[in-house]
């Protein structure tokens, strides 16, 4: 992998890029510490901080565009974090700036949207504080120039995600979902932490520059281990198999959170990690192959789950899993796939955020109803939402010339190139996507009205619809812009390298045409079942397959029987052992120390004469000891 040198001592906007992290962090601090006093204007401050970060990101981006390819990797030194081990700094390169633009851009839109969405919530200020905290942590994750910085951001977004999923903590389901997300992520984070430890012991550094320079020279076994550990971390954060189970439950959080964190940005952190660590994965082909397997398995699993969900947000969450599976697959293909992974990540950030916010708009109108069986025929009452949602829908299924068409097709073509089996599985996934997304579209906006009697749907306020419009514009044009002429691939090349020969765009290849055909078939089936036919208000029992998908492919059952129950047994045994043996020892020790303490306390009797006596004895001891030492 040929990448450009990292240049020290950046100036201008890039030199000030730490502001991107500092501004939202400051916002979070002010809102959390300021308490109720900031209630009145807290949301405005939150938006301002996010927009400020966006401005810095744009300025840095413009400055970068003015530089030669060879000078586009700029290091910003900040401070010595752990002397002798970690120098905290930022790495502003095409990869990180792409993420920074996505995070701050989509993040700001979602901040604005939330002003409207959360307007009736008494805790709106706290919500914005957490959103700001998330933006700061996510930016640290992608901008840091070393794995420790990335890890701090990684944990930071995990914390923000936990706080926001459980934002309505009075609902037991939200509290449980937050805990579940936290615990499942713990598994992945633990893997990442051990991976970073291994990197440190193997390479003697945790900074990207020095590590990647010598990545190829390490022992193959160690490299594979590092790769798999990093992948485990990526699986946790990006809800990839086998750590996917938390994402569907995470939809308990407010919808803007689902859009920002659990669709557009945080869940793509795993993809970032794999692409950023490309040098390691390319040197460890086994680990790289496992990445593609995980990607393909997840893209199919997510798509199947998406087919059977009646909860609009859960259906979208299944689709998020599936789309990230595509990105993971591309990230595992090496330099030929990186640009497509990132391109799909960016376009997905737009069209998925677009659809989530659209779903939020629908829920806002329908008294927070999420069951699509109670929607239907909403097109006529909320046109802006329906049209923007429809654009997102067309983009995700890969309707020709829309964003998803270019980026997903790129991934399928490169997968074909590397391994046809993976490629055809990805094609199958695209077909299923055509079905389940059409199902969501038709059940929500078309067909008969199946509303609850007290529902009076109406279009959402402008503060909510304007972000929808902006996002849908991105959903239309971004894909073509990034892919045609290999624009993104050439832009990213200094950071992640580029394949020997650039891929062309082949609209009429066999896989491309098959994909389109399958998508059309999927959409047609969906129309027949959910558009034209009557949709029952209560879900029918369905076949074995439907149940399988409805139960998230028995992911939870698997976790429960494989990990939770044995875990509980293990805990019980451990508790038993702890009570009998360890506690005996510890309590004995504690009692011993406590007893000593109690006895020594008696010396502290409050009489100044006793104290003076103890000083005298002490002095005598010191004198005696010094004299004794002197004679040795």
């Amino acid at each position: 992998m040929e990448t450009a040198e990292i240049i020290q001592g950046a100036g201008g906007a890039i030199g000030a890029s730490w502001l991107m992290i500092a501004l939202p962090l400051l916002g979070a601090a002010i809102l959390l510490l300021g308490g109720r006093r900031t209630n009145g204007w807290g949301h405005l401050l939150g938006v301002a901080m996010s927009l400020g970060a966006f401005v810095v990101a744009v300025l840095s981006f413009v400055q970068m565009l003015g530089l030669d390819d060879s000078r586009r990797r700029q290091a910003v030194e900040l401070f010595d974090f752990i002397p002798g081990m970690v120098k905290m700094g930022l790495l502003i390169d095409p990869l990180s700036i792409s993420f920074a633009l996505l995070i701050t851009g989509v993040g700001s839109l979602i901040h604005i949207y939330s002003i409207g969405y959360m307007s009736h919530d008494p805790d709106r200020r706290r919500f914005f504080a957490y959103l700001n905290l998330f933006v700061a942590a996510m930016l640290l994750l992608v901008l840091a120039d070393n794995y420790v910085g990335l890890y701090i951001g990684w944990e930071g977004v995990g914390l923000a995600s936990y706080l926001l999923i459980g934002f309505w903590q009075h609902k037991p389901s939200a509290a449980t979902a937050a805990k579940k997300a936290f615990i499942v992520n713990r598994v992945g984070d633990f893997g990442l932490a051990i991976g970073i430890f291994t990197i440190w012991t193997t390479f003697g550094s945790v900074a990207y520059g020095p590590v990647f320079e010598v990545a190829g020279e390490a022992d193959q076994g160690v490299l594979t281990a590092i790769g798999l550990l990093l992948l485990l971390g990526a699986c946790g954060k990006s809800a990839q198999l086998p750590l996917q189970s938390w994402l569907l439950d995470a939809m308990e959080g407010p919808t803007p959170v689902s859009a920002l964190i659990h669709a557009a940005t945080m869940v793509t952190a795993g993809v970032y990690l794999v692409v950023r660590s490309g040098a390691i994965f390319e040197a460890a082909s086994t680990a790289q192959f496992v990445v593609t397997i995980v990607g393909v398995a997840t893209l199919l699993a997510g798509a199947i789950i998406g087919c059977a969900k009646d909860d609009i947000k859960k259906a979208l969450a299944g689709s998020t899993m599936s789309q990230i599976g595509y990105m993971m697959l591309a990230a595992g293909l090496g330099p030929v796939g990186y640009a497509f992974a990132i391109a799909h990540l960016i376009t997905h950030g737009f069209f998925k955020a677009n659809m989530f916010l659209g779903a939020g708009s629908v829920m806002h109108a329908m008294n927070d109803e999420v069951d699509m069986r109670k929607y239907g025929g909403l097109f006529s009452v909320m046109k802006v939402t329906a049209i923007t949602f429809g654009i997102g829908y067309l983009a995700i299924i890969g309707f020709p010339l829309l964003s998803g068409y270019f980026t997903k097709d790129g991934i399928i073509e490169s997968a074909m190139h590397v391994n046809p089996v993976l490629g055809w599985l990805a094609v199958a996934g695209a077909g299923i996507t055509g079905f389940y997304m059409s199902r969501v579209m038709f059940m929500t906006f078309f067909g008969k009205r199946r509303w609850a009697p007290d529902a009076h749907p109406h279009e959402s306020p402008a503060v909510m619809t304007i972000p929808l419009v902006i996002l849908s514009i991105g959903s239309v044009f971004l894909g073509a812009y990034l892919i045609l002429g290999n624009r993104l691939m050439l832009f990213l090349a200094p950071a992640v390298g580029r394949p020997a020969d650039l891929p062309g765009f082949h609209p009429f290849s066999a896989p491309g045409l098959t994909t389109l055909a399958l998508v059309a078939v999927g959409a047609a089936i969906a129309w027949a079942k959910y558009g034209r036919a009557e949709v029952p208000q209560v879900a029918p029992r369905g076949s074995f397959l439907t149940t399988f998908a409805r139960r998230d492919l028995y992911g939870d059952a698997l976790n429960e029987s494989l990990f939770m129950r044995p875990g509980q047994w293990l805990t019980r045994i451990a508790v038993f052992f702890d009570n009998r043996a360890v506690d005996g020892l510890v309590n004995g020790l504690a009692a011993g120390i406590g007893g000593t303490s109690g006895r020594m306390r008696r010396l502290q009797n409050g009489f100044v004469r006793s104290y003076a006596l103890s000083i005298l004895f002490g002095a005598a001891m010191v004198v005696g000891a010094l004299l004794y030492v002197g004679t040795l």
Binding site: I593, M600, Q604, G618
Partner: protein, 516 residues
């Protein structure tokens, strides 16, 4: 006829100290001449301005005029890197302590009135307040500044007394629990006088050995021990006793819990931070500057003292039921950790790291301590501060913010990463390991573990116990108290996340030594 040469005094170098003393003298004049109702409003700006000015003058010396390169005042005062660092620390700590002291509710209306008497009641009703507090504090702070800078045992003794005498008085001025407060003052006075006698006696011995009280002269005299060894050994031991008493090392620690508990809490904060800093400064001067080459003799004994101090502090704290006493024992344990660093300075190669570690530790411990005591002043019930730990149960449910900050301070004391306490311990212990005192560091780490137990116990008590029905109320803090807590919390975070600039500064200070 003998000419008596007038001594040369480098006023520029001594300015930070002279400013404080000058303000103290002015404060006395204010007491004498200003009408009662005006005094407080004169004292507070005067005191704060003196401390800010002193701090600014330190900065001027560090960044503008440069650290001096030779002792001042005919070799009696050494204004070198460590001195300037500690001066800055003391001035800053004194400043925040004065913000606490400013909260008038902590001090007695008329100290001379017998507790519970009609006189006392009259004084309260008349709204008197004992404004002598401010000049007394300034004198004590001036003494602290001189104590760390003394390059001469005699000056050091004078400084010791200038620092201690006002503190003895201040300890007796608590508004509530008058008897406890007066008892603390008398105890502190008696024991302090007792230990001063040791110091003075040790000084006489050392003079007998070296023929001088100048620290550099003593250092120079060390190689020619010939036959005078017992004098030197006895002198070293007795000087040590005097100084170890001030830092509260075992077995000279007995005064600390009683005095800390009885004294008005703002004064406790000043003693636990400023006095500790000053005493360690003086300890380093004597044992490193003067007696550094004698370390083969004093190090083993200091080992024993350090171990005893760490263990005793940590173990005794466990069974404490009063928050201030617990913090006092914690301060004893921390003195032990710092002693580990002092011992490590003896090893010639590593001394600079150990010295800078101690300087940094003193700063972070001092500021966290003031913050912790500031919070203690805010938790009150009908009888004043709610000192008993059982009264703190469930505080986290009633005042989550306050309890959270206090928990954060406790974690900093315990040395949890991302708090300043972690880097303080790390700096001292890593320097100590490099200095070859690994066993001592192991004892330190085990004591830290024991200490963590009682810190966490308070956190558990605050957050996981049900609040008592008639529990204490958290008073809305005055602006001064609130800013003290905020500053201390901010410093604890910042120095825990970005310790580097301050560590660098401590390192530079440690290398800008001109003696030895």
């Amino acid at each position: 006829m003998n000419d008596i040469a007038a001594p040369t005094i480098e006023y520029g170098q001594l300015a930070p100290m002279l400013l404080v003393f000058g303000a103290a003298v002015l404060g006395v004049l204010v007491e004498a001449f200003a009408p009662r109702y005006l005094r407080r409003s004169i004292h507070i700006p005067l005191t704060l301005a003196a401390l800010v000015g002193s701090f600014a003058l330190v900065l001027v010396q560090v960044f503008v005029s440069g650290v001096p390169t030779s002792p001042a005042a005919m070799g009696a005062v050494a204004v070198d890197g460590p001195t300037l660092f500690l001066w800055g620390v003391i001035a800053a700590l004194a400043f925040v302590s004065v913000l606490l002291i400013n909260d008038e509710d902590n001090f007695v209306a008329q100290a001379a009135a017998v507790p519970g008497s009609a006189d006392e009641e009259d004084a309260e009703i008349a709204g008197f307040s004992q404004t002598e507090v401010y000049p007394l504090v300034l004198f004590a702070v001036g003494g602290m500044l001189l104590f760390t800078a003394s390059n001469d045992l005699l000056i050091m003794f004078v400084a010791l007394e200038v620092m201690s005498l006002p503190l003895y008085l201040l300890c007796g001025l608590a508004r509530r629990r008058r008897l406890l407060s007066q008892e603390a003052a008398v105890k502190y006075f008696l024991l302090g006088a007792f230990s001063s006698a040791f110091f003075l006696f040790g000084m006489a011995m050392v003079y007998g050995f070296a023929g001088s009280v100048g620290l550099s002269d003593i250092n120079a005299a060390l190689p020619n021990v010939g036959g005078q060894e017992p004098l030197l050994v006895l002198g070293t031991a007795l000087l040590g006793v005097g100084l170890l008493f001030k830092i509260g090392a075992a077995p000279f620690q007995a005064w600390k819990p009683d005095v800390y508990q009885g004294a008005p809490t703002p004064i406790t904060a000043l003693m636990a931070s400023g006095t500790l800093v000053a005493a360690f400064g003086a300890l380093l001067r004597v044992f490193w500057v003067a007696l550094g080459n004698f370390d083969w003799d004093w190090r083993p004994v200091m080992w024993g003292v350090a171990i005893l101090t760490m263990v005793a502090g940590a173990i005794l704290a466990i069974t404490q039921t009063d928050i201030k006493r617990m913090l006092a024992y914690s301060s004893i344990a921390h003195a032990g950790f710092l002693l580990t660093g002092v011992i490590a300075t003896g090893a010639a190669e590593q001394n600079r790291d150990a010295l800078s570690g101690i300087l940094f530790y003193l700063l972070v411990y001092g500021i966290t301590t003031v913050g912790a005591f500031a919070i203690v002043t805010m938790v009150r019930d009908a009888g004043g501060e709610a000192g008993h730990l059982s009264r703190w149960a469930g505080l986290g449910k009633r005042s989550p913010m306050l309890a959270g900050v206090f928990a954060f301070f406790l974690l900093a004391f315990a040395g949890i990463p991302l708090t300043s306490g972690f880097f303080g311990k790390y700096a001292v212990f890593s320097a100590a390991v490099a200095g070859g005192v690994l066993p001592l560091v192991l004892v330190g780490v085990v004591s830290s573990a024991i200490a963590a137990f009682f810190y966490v116990r308070v956190i558990v008590l605050m957050f996981f116990s049900d609040p008592a029905a008639d529990g204490p109320t958290v008073v809305g803090p005055s602006v001064g108290t609130a800013s003290v807590v905020a500053v201390a919390a901010a410093a604890t975070v910042v120095l825990g996340v970005f310790p580097e600039p301050m560590l660098d500064l401590a390192d530079k200070a440690a290398s800008a030594l001109f003696v030895r």
